[in-house]
């Protein structure tokens, strides 16, 4: 859809400024209890002086979302949520109040029912040829969103300081469902639907490709027909008869179905919750399927008047078939775009036609048909999570309670991949004489995250007159290890003996990997909530954390915070907080001087050990100093309610990678040291309004946030030294991740020559990579992070009908589409965009020397407005046997308003390192677009 800038602006302003439309009760209150999770304790929402965003049970009810992180999208101001791509288990990038780090972690801490769980990213990168195909796996995709009662996000230091060194990126507190006292519920949810891609990029067909190939060949000074890749049994004559639409083969209609059953029963003394679910999703990319099973049991019991016990057990299993997307090699989504439309899929004798040279060892050919055949290609991942928590509470005396909780979260991720000898050749490691001959490959990887958590708290509550005091002190031990196992083998007697153990040849260079990796955090914490006359609120929190990750000289770190509030009346509360949190996401062994072995460091087949890094004993967590000022308000008898927050979040001791001169002779290219600073400053608004009440109700919920990031200190490093991609650098005084590109100046109408601006703003032809490189400038006014983003939900109810229309939006961010560049230059081995036939397209040259260079030609405004969810429901209440039944129809990602010309503006890349995740979110390369789904479902409550 082609839409002008102005139109988008009009739509935005129109949506927000319709009079009377605006509101929400800061969904800050869990409707069931009016208590909110505030970290190790619940406090009445009204007493909260820090900044906590919530999704209450009502908001979570009837959500049709694929995973837990997606449930938060657009609902909580300041929580920026982007799914990496449209694969069923793709990682979802979540940023609370902007990106606060470059080389440290940027994802928040996830805590489920009081216990921190493994939520990614992996500590150890995947190995083997299928190692990083597809998207980075989202570990939380194994949790059934239907089990969630509420989500709280601790956004400011006042709220998050109690999580100390793990709180800097915000804390997501997830509370799962439990029975209500003296109630029994049985609930059945089922939905099923179809999925399709939200967008389709058009590519050249066979005849057009040949025509442009010849043109390009002649444009580059040659005569006659342009050359085709040298592939056996392939020539101009065969090419002329072929018109393969690779994309249509790999993309198809997907489907999704989910069945959940839950039962709960409560008495005055006990509560019990049980649930199970099954989800099956066939992705829009053929072969990309997910199946998920979850089971959960939760109970609490008041054994005596003093002693209570509780247990919480969950088991999740998911099975996933991965296909290569993005930059992955092989015949997946990328190959479907790159492969020439004149390549047939099969030779006349029925064998696969290799679109690219499989003689590049270790990498399979890129024929998409071979990858869609499970006989020839199989990349199956399985995840298992066992979550067991048990605790006891003991009321020592009135107001004084001791709690001890122990928990274990065991997460296993296994991957088996197999590529038959029909699509690959033996690797160098397979042994002499086998490299370059057809040889099957199997790899097996098991990655585990075991989290053990021990927590003891002592709390004291006292109300005397106008004074209301709650004090809590405690300590926590968090132990996390991640054993990793990998093996691979080549040469199999049969395609049905697919395990590395059955391989004829072990890879003699990288036979296997077995690593354990450990980190520990121990923390003491104390917090006091004091309320005077139900009007004055005061909280003081302090946490002391020590972690094995910190350098030997800085083992203990202190994180204090103070927040205060004043309630004018029920209608207005003012809040202010100041405090410190830390970011311990710096890698397990970053501070250690250490030696290790790498598979290639062997001489005469004897393993070699070497110094990996110099170590930095002074390394400590980044610290965030945060000020938050906020107001919660309620107008017109609660018809309009909301909250407004302003914050200033400063990252101090920011960790940077100081590059080490080559002459130092260590493997790692740099040294992580605390040396920089960064600031995030922003404003967040949540509004809920009850526009119309009565038989017909109309509620509106809006969340919108603006965040401005600025690097204030780069520790003396140059812009390109703080970089994880040559097109993205960093400047002091500007937002992190600045596009560093030559500016595109269009096409010379006379010659068709692509033009750029040089550094003196003179228009020059883009004739060489060196010229483009020398014209690079930073584009400060085209940020990769949005100027504002959020969501708008309108809910209408009339008698038994409900209708909700949820829109998410992102405005002012730019995306560099490197995939578009790949498909814009004719190199002889790749297809081109269909627009290449247009006159306005720069003149094509065969093997253009600028093909590898990005300019702003591929940098696009990626503002969008998306009809995220449209649901129409019909509920019947109080029937025989049933308490309630509801049927509904949902459309997700129904339409998108954007000027972005590529696959999808809602994309977040898929990366393995912190620096890439922090800086490169604005780069897309042949990523699978989000899916549009049409779903019909039913909820039944007994």
């Amino acid at each position: 859809m082609k839409i002008s800038h102005l139109m988008i602006r009009k739509i935005f302003t129109g949506l927000f400024l319709l009079p009377g439309m605006v509101t929400v009760a800061t969904a800050q209150v869990d409707a069931d209890s009016l208590l909110v999770q505030a970290g190790y304790r619940k406090i009445p929402a009204i007493y909260v002086a820090g900044s906590i965003a919530s999704l209450g049970s009502r908001a979570m009810e009837n959500l049709v979302v694929p995973n837990l992180k997606a449930a938060m999208q657009g609902k909580m101001a300041g929580v920026h949520t982007v799914q990496a791509n449209g694969m069923p288990s793709a990682e979802v990038a979540v940023r609370v109040r902007g990106t606060g780090s470059i080389y440290g972690e940027t994802e928040p801490l996830y805590v489920i029912d009081g216990i921190p769980v493994y939520a990614g990213p992996r500590e150890i990168a995947p190995e083997g040829i299928g190692g990083n195909w597809g998207a980075v796996f989202n570990p939380l995709s194994d949790i059934n969103p239907m089990d969630i009662a509420s989500i709280q996000v601790l956004k400011d230091a006042g709220a998050a300081a109690i999580y100390g060194a793990r709180g800097a990126n915000g804390v997501i507190l997830i509370t799962t469902k439990n029975a209500r006292p003296n109630k029994s519920d049985v609930r059945l949810d089922y939905y099923t639907g179809i999925t399709q891609t939200t967008n389709r990029v058009r590519l050249l067909n066979g005849p057009d490709y040949l025509r442009l190939l010849d043109q390009a060949w002649q444009n580059s000074g040659q005569t006659g027909e342009g050359p085709l890749p040298a592939v056996e049994g392939f020539n101009r004559a065969t090419a002329t008869g072929v018109n393969s639409d690779h994309l249509s083969q790999v993309l198809g209609q997907g489907n999704v179905q989910q069945l959940s059953l839950s039962a709960s029963s409560g008495t005055a003394k006990s509560a019990f919750y049980f649930s199970g679910s099954y989800r099956k999703e066939a992705g829009v990319l053929t072969g990309n399927d997910l199946t998920r099973y979850t089971g959960k049991v939760k109970f609490t019991n008041q054994l005596t008047s003093k002693l209570s016990i509780n247990a919480n057990i969950g088991m999740n299993y998911s099975e996933y078939f991965n296909m290569p997307v993005g930059r992955s090699e092989g015949g997946g989504f990328g190959a479907a775009q790159r492969n020439l439309p004149v390549f047939p899929w099969y030779h006349p004798n029925g064998t696969y036609f290799y679109a690219s040279d499989p003689a590049v060892y270790h990498l399979p050919g890129s024929n998409i048909m071979s990858f869609m055949s499970k006989n020839d290609y199989d990349n199956e991942e399985q995840t298992k999570r066992v979550f067991v928590a048990a605790g006891l509470g003991y009321k020592v005396m009135k107001g004084l309670e001791l709690r001890v909780d122990a928990a274990m979260d065991q997460y296993y991720h296994t991957r088996r991949d197999y590529t038959s000898k029909r699509l690959r050749y033996g690797s160098v490691g397979s042994g002499t004489g086998r490299e370059g001959t057809p040889l099957a490959y199997a790899g097996y990887e098991k990655y585990s995250e075991n989290v053990y958590n021990l927590l003891a708290t002592l709390s004291y509550k006292k109300i005397k007159g106008a004074h209301n005091l709650s004090v809590l002190g405690g300590f926590e031990v968090y132990y996390n290890d991640n054993p990793y196992f990998f093996a691979e083998g080549e040469g199999f007697v049969s395609d049905f003996l697919r395990q590395p153990a059955a391989a004829a040849y072990r890879n003699q260079i990288t036979p296997e990997a077995l690593v354990t990796n450990v980190n520990v955090v121990t923390g003491y914490f104390a917090t006091a909530d004091y309320v005077f006359k139900e009007r004055y609120l005061l909280n003081a929190t302090v946490r002391v954390d020590a972690s094995s990750r910190f350098g030997a000289d800085n083992k203990y770190q202190v994180f204090p915070a103070l927040s205060a509030g004043y309630i004018f009346s029920g209608a207005l509360k003012l809040r202010a907080s100041y405090g410190w949190t830390g970011n311990y996401g710096i890698g397990n062994y970053s501070s250690l001087e250490r030696w290790g072995i790498s598979p290639s460091s062997r001489y005469l087949l004897q393993a070699g050990v070497h110094a990996l890094g110099l170590g930095s004993p002074s390394l400590k967590p980044e610290k965030q100093e945060q000020i938050n000022i906020g107001a919660d308000f309620s107008l017109l008898k609660d018809r309009i309610s909301g909250s407004l927050d302003i914050y200033n979040r400063t990252t101090k001791d920011m960790i940077l990678l100081f590059p080490v001169p080559l002459s130092s002779g260590v493997k790692e290219p740099g040294l992580l040291l605390n040396g920089g600073a960064m600031r995030n400053r922003g404003i967040e608004l949540n509004i809920a309004s009850k526009n119309v009440q009565g038989v017909f109700t109309w509620n509106t919920e809006l969340s919108i946030a603006h965040n401005q990031n600025k690097i204030s200190d780069l520790g003396g490093l140059s812009p390109d030294q703080v970089s994880a991609h040559k097109n993205i650098v960093n400047y002091t005084g500007h937002a992190a991740g600045v596009y560093y590109l030559a500016e595109y100046a269009g096409v010379d109408p006379a010659t068709g020559q692509e033009l750029i601006y040089d550094r003196d703003r003179k228009v020059v032809p883009a004739i060489s990579a060196a010229r483009i490189d020398s014209a690079r400038i930073p584009h400060f006014n085209k940020p990769s992070a949005p100027k504002f983003f959020g969501g708008l939900n309108n809910i209408f109810r009339y008698k038994n009908f409900d209708l909700s229309a949820f829109i998410t939006f992102s405005y002012g961010n730019y995306l560099l589409d490197e995939g578009e560049r790949e498909l814009s230059y004719l190199k002889g081995k790749n297809n081109l965009l269909a627009t290449a036939t247009q006159v306005s397209f720069p003149k094509l040259r065969y093997n253009d020397p600028v093909a590898g260079s990005n300019t702003t030609r591929f940098l696009h405004d990626a503002s969008y407005l998306r009809m995220k969810n449209l649901t129409l429901g019909y509920a019947i209440k109080k029937m025989k046997l049933l308490k309630e039944a509801r049927i509904y129809l949902t459309a997700q990602n129904l339409f998108t308003v954007t000027r972005f010309p590529g696959w999808d503006p809602e994309v977040a890349g898929s990366y393995l390192t912190n620096a890439e995740r922090s800086l490169n979110q604005g780069i897309t390369y042949m990523d699978l677009p989000q899916v549009r789904s049409f779903v019909a479902g039913i909820n039944v409550k007994l």
Binding site: L604, V609, S663
Partner: protein, 496 residues
């Protein structure tokens, strides 16, 4: 009782906590600090394995072919598969310093080569420090292996510096006192990044450092591998004569013929025309197809030793179906490395010369060397007695000991089964013959550029079109430091 219960409850978690506190100091099992890893002979050997691997990643591979690509006897036809090779062949050394490893790996190819060498240097320095501090003294095998380990460290470090200074600095002799910039010397292990922000040492200092280290290696290394004394991994690595061989090469490169000859005499025997140590072998093909530590060619003083079990990474460059190779072993892949017409003129082989078996005539009549593609993997000769004896012949000839020079040169001619030189012969004619013999014998083994520089002769363009001849000490033949490395070390002076 109630109070007691309360106390127990409270103290239980505290005790547990104390126990967990100890876990804060994690010694990872997969990676260890230097003090532990270098505390045994196995650990020290492991470090050395890595150092050798880093050295031989380039020695015998990149550094061998770069010498040929920069000089005049090789023609790269149809574009080298590795862009670096093409850039070097085009003498476009700016491009070499800016070429990333791949589109997803932004490291620069030439930086990776530098890093390989310095990784080797630093590992050697760390092992030396561990030996000086006696980290492994409690290991029973240490006493027998200490000298050997230290000798290997000095050897490795010297060879790395020698390769670096020959490619990243103007050649020896460019200034009268060799005070022009050499490379960064690392004599001490590197513990921090600040100490590495330092200028390049002069070429004179670098050569002095190399010679000092090689002399130490010469005095410390054992003559050969001794079963039961040395760790098994030592077999096939550097013995004492490898240090002597490199000393001879270094002195010869400097034009220090007196000391070069002394080393050569020690290696092959001091009687002209008679090679007692490392005798020349009748089979030339055997020289380029020996495999493994057990089967090193008797003519080789030092070589990149391949394993017998697998095509170790060292050999893939040259001689497999690996598309990187410019002399592919597979007949199906077109050879990109062709000898130039200048080589044919310079070498003017006798038709009966046995060394012609190391060439192949292609269907279009052009000729490609096959030294490196006889078998799938093999020990790559780095110093062999033929080189030593030709060095000495040239030394004798320059010293007017013509008879001795003829005798030495004839050893090589005899093996090649071509007519022997006879006396009388003029000094000039003899020198010319010896140098021609050197081309015939050592062609494409990485000798050409360094030899032209030693002789201070012009480096001709070969068959490159539109390229001017370069002086032996032209900056256009010296590799550049990357902008990235210049930024990391502001005191680094570049080669422009």
């Amino acid at each position: 009782m109630k109070k007691f219960f309360f106390f127990i409850l409270l103290s239980l978690p505290l005790i547990t906590f104390q126990a967990c506190e100890k876990r804060l100091d994690i010694v990872p099992a997969s990676v260890s600090p230097e003090s532990l890893i270098l505390s045994s002979v196995d650990g020290l050997n492991g470090g050395l394995n890595f150092a050798y691997q880093q050295l031989h990643t380039d020695l015998g591979r990149h550094f061998t072919i770069w010498s040929e690509l920069l000089s005049d006897h090789l023609l790269v036809r149809g574009g080298a598969v590795l862009p670096t090779q093409q850039f070097i062949y085009d003498r476009n050394l700016d491009a070499v310093a800016t070429e990333p490893v791949s589109s997803t790996d932004p490291r620069l190819v030439s930086d990776v080569r530098l890093r390989d060498m310095y990784n080797c240097v630093n590992t050697a320095a760390l092992i030396l420090r561990a030996c000086e501090n006696g980290l492994a003294e409690s290991d029973l095998a240490y006493a027998d292996n200490k000298d050997r380990i230290m000798g290997e460290c000095y050897f490795l470090r010297a060879v790395c510096h020698f390769e670096l200074v020959r490619y990243w600095a103007l050649p020896w002799g460019t200034t009268a006192d060799n005070s022009h910039p050499g490379i960064i010397i690392n004599e001490q292990p590197v513990d921090d990044r600040i100490s590495q922000i330092k200028p390049r040492a002069s070429v004179a200092k670098v050569y002095a450092f190399i010679i000092r280290d090689l002399q130490k290696a010469d005095s410390l290394l054992p003559e050969t591998f001794v079963q039961g004394v040395h760790s098994g991994v030592y077999k096939g690595r550097a013995y004492r004569d490898a240090a002597k061989g490199f000393l001879a090469k270094v002195y010869f490169q400097q034009g220090n013929y007196v000391q070069a000859k002394e080393m050569i005499d020690q290696l092959i025997g001091s009687t002209p025309g008679v090679i007692t140590g490392y005798p020349l072998q009748a089979s030339l093909t055997q020289l380029f197809s020996a495999r493994g530590a057990e089967n090193t060619d008797p003519e080789c003083i030092y070589q990149t030793t391949s394993s017998t079990a697998i095509n170790a990474s060292q050999a893939t460059y040259w001689n497999s179906t690996n598309p990187e190779s410019i002399y592919p072993r597979s007949a199906a892949v077109a050879s990109k490395g062709i000898v130039t017409t200048q080589f044919i003129t310079d070498a003017h082989f006798y038709p009966q010369d046995l060394r012609l078996t190391l060439f192949k005539t292609l269907s279009d009549g052009r000729i490609t060397p096959t030294k490196y593609c006889l078998v799938d993997f093999f020990n790559i000769p780095l110093i062999r007695s033929a080189e030593m004896v030709l060095d000495r012949a040239e030394i004798y000839a320059s010293d007017n000991r013509l008879e001795d020079a003829v005798a030495d040169c004839n050893t090589v001619r005899q093996r090649a089964q071509i007519p022997l030189l006879t006396i009388p012969i003029s000094k000039e004619a003899l020198l010319d013959s010896i140098r021609t013999e050197r081309i015939r014998e050592l062609c494409f083994e990485g000798d050409r550029l360094h030899d032209l520089r030693r002789k201070k002769q012009m480096v001709l363009p070969g068959e490159r079109a539109g390229i001017q001849p370069l002086a032996w000490n032209s900056k256009d033949l010296v590799l550049k430091y990357s902008q990235e490395d210049m930024a990391r070390n502001p005191q680094l002076e570049n080669n422009y």
